[in-house]
Symmetry: C2
Subunit: 289 residues, 2 copies
């Protein structure tokens, strides 16, 4: 079982996302959590707090997105709670999955290889573009009459690909999990989520910087904007790719990006120079509770 909450103002901004996309994402982020344990998603419960100023069509669109995503991932929506909200849209999903063998974060062993199942940083760059962050982005973002975003000097197909990765993540399961020792989905960023595996497995890790898969879209857009794509890939988050470990000689389509070591956490460059890394990425609370 997994549960994930999406709050307006924290997880999404209704000036960027449609209700349909939000409905999709609410299902997708929970599906990603079940995939991360080697499970098959089954039953979904959704609680919605609906702002009093929302339109009936908005909620229809939200449920269309939920139906589309639940259909695609083979999930049955079996219940939930609907209430009014004084303070923005609130979405809380709970998903039940099934697994013959559950994969935890705690099984990584020294010598295991580290893999990721997809390119990293696309979603974070999509958000960066939507928010008009960065000095060069600011000059490129426009809204046309219909309120749609337009980006000057940027390949619009690439921009849309990156934005879509942010707004409508498409988690995918790993097919053969027999020799996977630990797994997590990358929601807070590679460095944070790999740190969770290290913490719970009581190991260290080394990442080969040049092995981290970066999409052509991220690479080109970051280049034009004068941004380092690696920053997005390492700390961006919301990739909903899977990060897993496995003993060597495991056959997989996933990309090998590093190795589990006994102690310490490092990023190595092409010349083998090692830099220690901290668990940087999205943190909900900067103060300590």
């Amino acid at each position: 079982m997994t549960t994930d909450m999406l709050l307006e103002g924290i997880h999404f901004d209704l000036s960027f996302t449609t209700y349909y996309q939000l409905g999709h994402k609410t299902v997708a982020v929970n599906v990603s959590d079940i995939f991360a344990m080697g499970g098959i998603p089954k039953y979904f419960l959704l609680s919605v707090g609906i702002p009093k100023n929302s339109k009936p069509g908005d909620i229809d669109d939200l449920y269309s997105g939920i139906r589309e995503a639940s259909g695609r991932f083979g999930v049955s929506v079996i219940g939930g709670d609907t209430c009014a909200s004084e303070n923005g849209l609130v979405l809380s999903g709970t998903l039940v999955g099934h697994a013959d063998k559950i994969i935890l974060r705690s099984g990584a062993r020294e010598g295991d290889n580290i893999f990721v199942t997809n390119t990293l940083g696309d979603s974070a760059m999509g958000l960066f573009l939507l928010q008009g962050q960065g000095s060069r982005v600011q000059g490129t973002v426009r809204r046309n009459r219909n309120g749609n975003l337009r980006f000057k000097n940027l390949n619009s197909r690439h921009v849309l690909t990156l934005i879509k990765k942010h707004l409508m993540p498409e988690p995918a399961a790993v097919r053969n999990t027999s020799r996977i020792t630990s797994m997590i989905d990358i929601s807070d960023g590679l460095l944070i989520d790999l740190s969770h595996i290290c913490d719970e497995s009581n190991t260290g890790a080394i990442i080969y910087r040049d092995s981290i898969p970066i999409s052509r879209e991220l690479s080109e857009i970051a280049g034009i904007l004068g941004e380092d794509p690696m920053r997005f890939a390492l700390t961006g988050g919301e990739d909903y790719a899977l990060l897993f470990t496995s003993p060597s000689k495991f056959r997989t389509n996933a990309v090998k990006i590093g190795k589990i070591i006994r102690k310490g956490r490092y990023i190595a460059d092409s010349e083998g120079r090692k830099m220690p890394f901290a668990a940087e990425g999205y943190e909900h609370f900067k103060i300590k509770y």
Copy 2:
């Protein structure tokens, strides 16, 4: 499985409730839903959206209330999601229960008796007092230096009993469910929740007004305030008593308040005069979606 969301400004007001009481209530309202299906509560998932201005002690208190209630009801807290909130405190609980035989809302049959397991209207009067509603209440409510409420001319033990029923509901299961044909917990008010049973069972119902159990506390306080206790009992809500139907000759400690009939929904007075009733009580959306 059941899920219930509590939103600041809709379901609670932090100037009335402590975080400890809220933690208790979050568990209790979900436990009530499992009891309403004849189930035993088992596993609880809690998602919390924490306002950025909340204090660490607040969250400790919240979790103390959750631990207290989950301990009392034999529930294991197995996970959840914690995030920051821009818009007030958000609590979303999901509870898994177990039942050998699930009791639905749809099994009521013509001739069944209607029962409730506890006095009704206490919680609604507790809220009424907390909110200082009603012309006579306004004159009675005071806050002392410590911010605690004081009520002039009202029996303070009675006031506290009613307020506690609102802030810390104590759901209780029906022990012998073998002959129960339908069941629901009273969260939105007797008339609404009985209407749910009638809708789903495709029946009518008649309530005997004089049989509805009213506590001495509600009766006395309502009398002093010049309010009709029956209004609180019929439409108040948040009683978290169970409302169930059963064929005649079922032995139970619950109070018989009416009968399932073929068609129509009525309240009958002591002289047998019947008044039709509508599903009145707490509605989240006055507009139709």
